[in-house]
Amino acid sequence: MEGKIIYFDHAATTPLKKEVLDEMMPYLTDQYGNPSTIYKLGREAKKAIELARERVAKALNADIQEIYFTSGGTESDNWALKGVAFANKDKGKHIITTTIEHHAVLHPLKYLEGLGFEVTYVPVEPNGIVDPQKVKEAIKNGTILISVMLANNEIGTIQPVKEIAKIAKEKGIIVHTDAVQAVGQIPVDVKDLGVDLLSLSAHKFYGPKGVGALYIRKGTKIHPFSHGGAQEKNRRAGTENVAGIVGLGKAIELATQNLSEYAAKLQKLRDKLIDGVLSKIDYVRLNGDRHQRLPNNANFSFEFIEGESLLLMLDMKGIAASSGSACTSGSLDPSHVLLAIGLEHEVAHGSLRITLGEDNTEEDIDYLLEVLPEIVSRLREMSPLYESVKKGGN
């Protein structure tokens, strides 16, 4: 395994697909026109953007005019939340979300709280799934927006967004879903889901970093987020990242074309991994629902050890993975998602997220299942927490 990296962090980002880069290249070289200009070079760039828009619309079952390009998932989330909040504040100032959203949703909402909005954070069940009934109960006079992610980035659980949207529609409440982790992993159909806004980000499905999209259902009241030029029908100003948008379009086309095959392959690997880890290592738990989860996500907590140490040791073995430990980020609290599903702080610290991608093979899983038990026991040998368990246990 010398030199080679086994990449198990596809939820963090994915490599850019060759076919995607190939489509981008003209727009990084000869086709450098500004899409807002009227001469041929500009019109070509404009056409390329419109083709990308068509592809995104098709992938989501949306209308072309409902797709807006952004600089990524974070901008899409910020725009959706702040844009809807400001545009609808005369109707009310109450927003509902869950405790396991990405920071790109939670932090804009915190900001809105500072500006006088009220936010209800609906807790999730121990399996990491929110109960639509609890969302319904949180609705009150003045609720203007519900934002629930389609799939969680840490524990991979898939949320009942369709049911929630149905409840919201009955009350005339706008619904946003952060589908950044879902697109390219599960089918995403905005009409079927019934949402008004949906965020996505290209680099999560083998597209380029720094480009995303926001689906805005026709008629949804929302302010622009970036003001300036007339790009994106006056709703998102700024010279377009043409190459990035072209890449997003190609990537989403590829991702949705091969979706079921891709998902089936990853799910098989994932199940092998989960079964292997649970059988080979003790004091371990799988985080998130066993079945209602993304095909490529496995998330474990190993008691008595700390996640950053685990990642570093895996890195030495050529394995790239992720953890919800606070030590990874140098902050004090471990992942809010792991805490929200009821893990103790010290258990949350010992978490490992493995997210698979098309480059992964059975051999990769075998290799992980070979080195992981060794690493876990080595770290446990060092751990003062394990010491007492061993003593107590034997």
């Binding site: 050890i305 700390e306 140490s309 030590c327 140098g330 010290e346 610290h349 003062p384 927490l385 010491e387």
Partner: protein, 127 residues
């Protein structure tokens, strides 16, 4: 992010383990914050002759534990008490800013283990 030296002390930590009937033992930190350090000292005639540790924590926490145990060995109690977290971090060719707090743990662990030793001495003397 981490220096070569930090990674070396992380991958090959010196002095991991326990000392049976140690003269000074202390555990500092909080599992909630993701870091606990347990330090064992063997002390003869006011000199630290052996040190071992167990740590639950990040790469920096493990590496600073390892380095701290190396640094106290052979030192008098007074000298060991002078060891600061900065000194431990410097001995590792530095730590990332957001990991400096992990080295504080090492300093605290040394001090707490020595205190444990001193209080045991005291109770021995008073008995």
């Amino acid at each position: 992010m981490y220096s070569e030296k930090v990674l070396d002390h992380f991958m090959n930590p010196r002095n991991v383990g326990e000392i049976e009937n140690a003269d000074g033992v202390a555990q500092v930190g909080n599992p909630k914050c993701g870091d606990i350090m347990k330090m064992y000292l063997k002390i003869e005639n006011g000199i630290i002759v052996d040190a071992k540790f167990k740590t639950f924590g990040c790469g920096a926490a493990v590496a600073t534990s390892s380095m701290a145990t190396e640094m106290v060995k052979g030192k008098t109690i007074e000298e060991a008490l002078q060891i600061t977290n900065k000194a431990v971090a410097e001995a590792l060719d530095g730590l990332p800013a957001n990991k400096l707090h992990c080295s504080v743990l090492a300093e605290e662990a040394i001090k707490a283990a020595i205190e444990d030793y001193l209080s045991k001495q005291k109770s021995k003397n008073t008995n």
